[in-house]
């Protein structure tokens, strides 16, 4: 049994694709613009944070990677979304199909070429990631893992575009479908998650440590008496009906989001009190919080008394303490990104398989509007 895909066949197609792209299109110009945009974003970010305390490098890294992913999602679909039906239109697909190349050779070759170009975009952005690393505060492991996941996400988007280019006769339709799918993954998942929140809301009785409702009435500032601050000692345990949102049932919607996958793959964890602007970190925290579900677990009483000054000053600020607890919980929660990675992997492999099937000849059933040669 012969393998449906061969190294020589894939190389033939990939070389053909890259040669054509390098000669006809304005990729050098697009790459230049891309470099300037990422550069401008990195420069502005640095200008904003250079005199701030904290890990300026981490902020720079997060912002740059966020933009690389965002702009990548705009550029990469255009590499493959009109590939197959565009070749059909120009009458160069059928002449390849009658050679000894298999349909898998053609699909994989085109994917490799598109992926190589998307890596060139990543390479053009790399000086700014290196800058962030030099500025400090970013671990090499974090950089490499996030980059690896990013490269994988770009490959999946390439495969999606290629599949749509085999599904529609007109190039405009496949381009629109590809961008819609990418939008559904990046925005649709977040919107679906937000819309699911009211459905997932249940009323539950919660034990809360709080100031009694009557406290302020009982401690009205009287004449001569100055304003009285409540203390932790004033708080009592009460049981209350409270809406609880079970995001632990719908967190997987967020795991489908490429931004969440890339962000959550970054393993660096900082205390939540850290106030630097790190978009990837925030996305990751959000997704993990959703996965964890309502906090605290029902066994622990909810403490609403944090504003009240601590009776023992040695224990530090109550708010900070609770945040520290939350951070520890988050880091214990299983990561979200492996699920997203598996999901995206299934999408990518599935798209490639559909594309291979659609290129198989001789054709028995010809879809409406499709031409062969």
């Amino acid at each position: 049994m012969r393998l449906p895909v061969s190294l020589k066949g894939v190389r033939t197609i990939a070389v053909l694709e890259l040669r054509q792209r390098l000669r006809t299109s304005r990729w050098p110009v697009v790459l230049g613009i891309w470099f300037l945009i990422i550069g401008a974003v990195a420069g502005l970010t640095w200008w904003a944070v250079h005199d701030q305390p904290g890990d300026r490098g981490a902020t720079l890294y997060d912002v740059v990677l966020f933009f690389v992913l965002g702009l990548g999602m705009l550029v990469v679909p255009s590499l493959t979304a009109t590939s197959i039906n565009g070749d059909r239109e120009r009458g160069v697909l059928a002449t390849l199909q009658t050679t000894l190349l298999t349909s898998a050779d053609i699909v994989v070759g085109k994917l490799v070429a598109a992926w190589a170009i998307s890596l060139a975009f990543l390479l053009a952005a790399s000086p700014f990631l290196v800058w962030a690393w030099v500025a400090g505060g970013v671990e090499v492991g974090r950089v490499l893992l996030a980059l690896a996941v990013l490269v994988f996400v770009l490959a999946v988007v390439c495969a999606l575009g290629l599949m749509f280019s085999t599904l529609t006769a007109r190039t405009i339709s496949s381009a629109v479908l590809t961008y819609l799918t990418v939008a559904a993954l990046t925005f649709g998942t977040v919107i679906a998650f937000l819309l699911s929140i009211p459905i997932m809301e249940t009323q539950q009785s919660v034990r809360v440590k709080a100031l009694p409702d009557s406290w302020y009435q009982e401690h009205q500032p009287t004449e001569g008496n100055s304003f009285v601050e409540p203390t932790a000692a004033d708080c009592v345990f009460v049981t209350r009906e409270q809406p609880i949102i079970h995001t632990e049932r719908t967190w997987w919607l967020l795991a489908l989001n490429p931004f969440v996958v890339v962000a959550d793959a970054a393993p660096s964890r900082k205390p939540l009190t850290y106030l630097g602007f790190e978009p990837l970190q925030m996305i990751s925290d959000g997704a993990r919080t959703a996965r964890m579900g309502p906090t605290p677990p029902m066994s622990d009483p909810l403490n609403e008394c944090l504003f009240a000054s601590q009776p023992n000053p040695g224990e530090g600020d109550g708010f900070e303490q609770q945040q520290q607890v939350q951070r520890e919980r988050l880091s214990r929660v299983h990561a979200v990104w492996p699920y997203g990675l598996v999901f995206l992997g299934v999408i990518g492999a599935g798209s490639a398989m559909v594309a291979v099937r659609r290129l198989r000849t001789p054709i028995r059933r010809l879809p409406r509007g499709t031409r062969i040669a």
Partner: protein, 311 residues
């Protein structure tokens, strides 16, 4: 009958939705011969060629190319066939030479033999001096020649050519004819679709006429087709004269079979030598001859008869 070379098509039918492109086509193309596929536009020629080129599966009927079924073993068939589509597109950014080398790689040739073959073919189709120009600057006729070279890269034994002569200048047509005849002489099977009858008559050994998706007639063009004279090859020649009655009388006197046309006479003679002798005799008789040329009336008549009921 399992190892038949050439092309065998039996009862092939193919519909696209409700449109019946090929209704029932029977066809045989033998090795060493050029078979013409002729018919009006929309007769199903291109659809048939797509099926032969392993791109489209027939709904009914069977196809054998070099004895192999293109539906069940497309890969084996592809190694045998060279296909030149109508309206040939090419990778515009590549040079002419790179186009042929890429096709060679697609047929799994190693780079060095592929380069050598590309150079050889560029010489054959007279594109040598354009070899390093981008394919997009080629004229339509030059693109056709590149298309032919493309189809020949892997030394196919069966050639499927869809309108190969369209867009060619007269000189290129003659060269195309010579290339095709030479390939046939080397034992290849050639199936050429066209609607330029005069040209096919020069190139083809037999013609299959298709109309309305059906093969309606097969016309033999090489062997005896008229009233045979002692096993010689009989051909039709068209003679015109300023004095037609005297021409008719002279032909009748020499016992030459004739068919009277409006402004000329078709005569059947046994080969080129007999034709030149007849011309000498007629001139010797003092008949004012204005034209004496091979006639393609036979194919034309068959074609017109076959496609008569076309709306």
């Amino acid at each position: 009958m399992d190892a038949v070379a050439g092309i065998e098509v039996t009862g092939v039918r193919r519909a696209f939705g409700s449109v019946l492109a090929v209704d029932h086509i029977d066809l045989q193309a033998r090795p060493g011969e050029v078979t013409a596929l002729i018919g009006p536009n929309g007769a199903g020629k291109t659809t048939l060629l797509l099926m032969l080129a392993t791109l489209l599966a027939p709904d009914e009927g069977s196809i054998r190319i070099a004895g192999i079924d293109p539906v069940t073993a497309p890969r084996e068939v592809r190694a045998q066939i060279g296909w030149m589509p109508d309206g040939f597109g090419t990778w515009d950014a590549l040079t002419v030479r790179e186009v042929l080398e890429t096709v060679g790689a697609a047929y799994r040739m190693a780079p060095v033999p592929a380069r050598a073959r590309a150079a050889e073919l560029l010489e054959l189709v007279h594109l040598g001096d354009l070899a390093d120009r981008p394919a997009r600057v080629l004229s339509r006729g030059q693109k056709q020649r590149l298309g032919l070279a493309r189809a020949l890269v892997h030394h196919p034994s069966v050639l499927l050519l869809d309108e190969p002569a369209s867009g060619l200048d007269p000189r290129s047509r003659i060269e195309l004819r010579d290339i095709l005849r030479q390939l046939a002489a080397c034992g290849a099977t050639l199936l050429v679709s066209s609607h330029i009858l005069t040209e096919l008559q020069e190139i083809a050994d037999r013609a299959v006429i298709v109309a309305g998706g059906r093969s309606v007639a097969t016309q033999d063009l090489s062997s005896d087709s008229g009233p045979g004279v002692g096993g010689h090859r009989v051909s039709q020649w068209r003679v015109a004269s300023l004095d037609q009655p005297r021409l008719m009388a002279a032909l009748a006197h020499h016992g030459v079979p004739t068919r009277l046309l409006a402004d000329a006479v078709d005569v059947a003679v046994a080969g080129d030598l007999a034709a030149s002798e007849l011309l000498a005799v007629l001139v010797g008789d003092g008949i004012p001859i204005t034209a004496f040329a091979p006639s393609y009336g036979a194919l034309e008549t068959a074609y017109l008869a076959a496609t008569e009921d076309r709306k």
